[in-house]
Symmetry: C2
Subunit: 342 residues, 2 copies
């Protein structure tokens, strides 16, 4: 049997066992210069022996620092966000911070409640990718009021000033359209997952600009479709579009899932990609090359985005104002042409 306690010791108990004051113990554990080497050693050994771990909340309360950050996302079961979390986690771990994960499920009301929970000292900073419904920043103002740094990643908010990490969205949208035009597409359509998210709008704008530049005259209405519902609704919408008489000959999915909907819809409708429909997706899907057919992607650096956003956040936690709220970090996407646009 190891010398294990049933009852866990706190600093007071540990101090008593060592016949020292709690102050001395506290300092010794932090390797303070005020304490003699001998005492430090004694204390640290005892801490190990009695399996002492400081109560984090007592410490947080006193120091007004929680060593915790919040990540708030619309969803987790999504390639992009999983990878972004991984990037965030990597930095948080390195810095010794804890990670509270919250999901807004694309609802502003939930996002508000989450931000509320982040106030009053629960976290030292917030990383957020906003919900589709988030058209107001009033909830985020609470955070600045409490001087809690915020950093946007991927889905940022125009009306709120905070550092943001995004990709070259307009340009990527432009590229996607051009790729399709080069292949001879006459009726390409951009499937946008939201009419409010700047990131989607920029991609859509780039896409439309390319069409205009190429001399297309069609109404934007026919070139840009919003799939702004639930997963099931979006699928139904895509399927309906592909079944209709004004079926496009190409689609660009503003997010991975919409392109996947197109794949499934084609399968169900007996359409062949790329013959009947070409597909490009904004996606960081690793297995894009083994889809049927392999999927052409505009790949976002999801992991790096998470990492970068976390780095900025910590930089602002450690030195408030270090990274200005007006700064935007643009990480480049990469283009991979594959079978879906042959």
């Amino acid at each position: 049997m190891q010398p294990e306690q049933i009852k866990k010791v706190n600093i007071k108990e540990l101090a008593r066992l060592l016949s020292l004051s709690t102050a001395t113990v506290s300092k010794a554990l932090k390797d303070s210069y005020e304490i003699s080497e001998q005492t430090k050693k004694k204390v640290q050994e005892a801490a190990l022996k009695y399996n002492y771990t400081p109560n984090p909340y007592a410490s947080s309360l006193r120091k007004k620092k929680s060593k915790t950050i919040a990540v708030v996302l619309p969803e987790v079961d999504d390639n992009y966000f999983s990878l972004a979390i991984k990037g965030i986690q990597a930095i948080a771990e390195e810095k010794g911070y804890h990670l509270l994960m919250y999901l807004s499920h694309e609802k502003l009301s939930i996002e508000k409640a989450i931000i509320d929970a982040c106030t009053s000292g629960r976290v030292d900073g917030v990383l957020i990718s906003i919900s589709k419904e988030s058209n107001t920043a009033s909830h985020l103002n609470q955070l600045i009021a409490e001087q809690i740094p915020v950093v946007f990643f991927d889905r940022a908010m125009d009306v709120f000033e905070a550092p943001r990490v995004i990709t070259n969205d307009f340009e990527s949208g432009y590229y996607a359209a051009n790729l399709l035009l080069e292949k001879g597409c006459k009726k390409p359509v951009f499937l946008s997952v939201s009419s409010s998210l700047p990131i989607c709008n920029l991609r859509a704008e780039g896409f439309l600009k390319a069409l205009t530049d190429a001399g297309f005259k069609g109404k934007a209405n026919d070139q840009l479709i919003y799939c702004d519902g639930t997963d099931a609704e979006n699928y139904a919408q895509v399927k309906k579009l592909l079944k209709s008489k004004k079926r496009p000959d190409a689609v660009v999915g503003s997010v991975e899932r919409l392109a996947i909907h197109a794949y499934f819809a084609c399968q169900e409708l007996g359409l062949t990609i790329p013959k009947d429909l070409k597909v490009v997706a904004f996606s960081s899907l690793e297995i894009a090359p083994i889809l049927n057919p392999s999927l052409s992607t505009i790949t976002q650096p999801a992991f790096e985005t998470g990492k970068k956003a976390a780095e900025i956040l910590f930089s602002n936690i450690e030195k408030p104002g270090k990274v200005k709220a007006s700064e935007t970090f643009i990480l480049p996407t990469a283009y991979f042409e594959r079978g879906s646009t042959l």
Copy 2:
């Protein structure tokens, strides 16, 4: 402008503003029966007006409850785990709990550090899917010493008694082998991601049993291969296997990623699935039907597993001992035969 404070108020300040005691305010905010309706109303309105949110850590310290649970996983950028988190989160949100997410990156040393961080009141409970290296339970003993409920999901530990939520692994392995034998495979191989995880071993055992039952005489060595390294190493190993002269005619991936490795390796080696190699995967990949070829899967109920595990955890947080440590919950898998085993 809304009546917003720059300085955030605490309960003392709020009490002062209302000319009440902090005790009264505290009780009023909790809708205590001791307080008059009138006072409650006044307090609640003031709380709203001054945007008061209680400091969670002060409250935790006092109540010795954190309303927080920890989820510890080997990785997040994995379909299965993303979905499991989603299930966990759904229940946590419903119960009003906060979620700390930790990644062990398959390292026991990190897992130990994580569990350490979970002690001393940081969390009220722990949901864990252990790392490949976790062959000892000493770190988890800290949790029982502090009466912190633990529940395993997916990857459980044999040597530690805690409720667990898993799938019918042996049976599923058996099924996978039989499926391949029916298709006439002569040299099927099970790709196990770990020689220590019970969940993998059970799947492997089921697989081997089916071979034995079918009269196979081969050495287990040739029928069971451990891909227990990094992603890159595992890929290299799979590729080497498929290039070797004792190339199997079928593989079962104990986890999704190994099957995906096989797909990529085949692509690179010019092998055709299912002609040259049949593939079955333990996987909850939604897009299995649109792979090239579509992937036959043994689908684990990832979301439900997360949900169930969380439910058990909360049940034990609310009523310690409600669910016995010896209980095992088995959620059934579903079989989907697709193109990779035609």
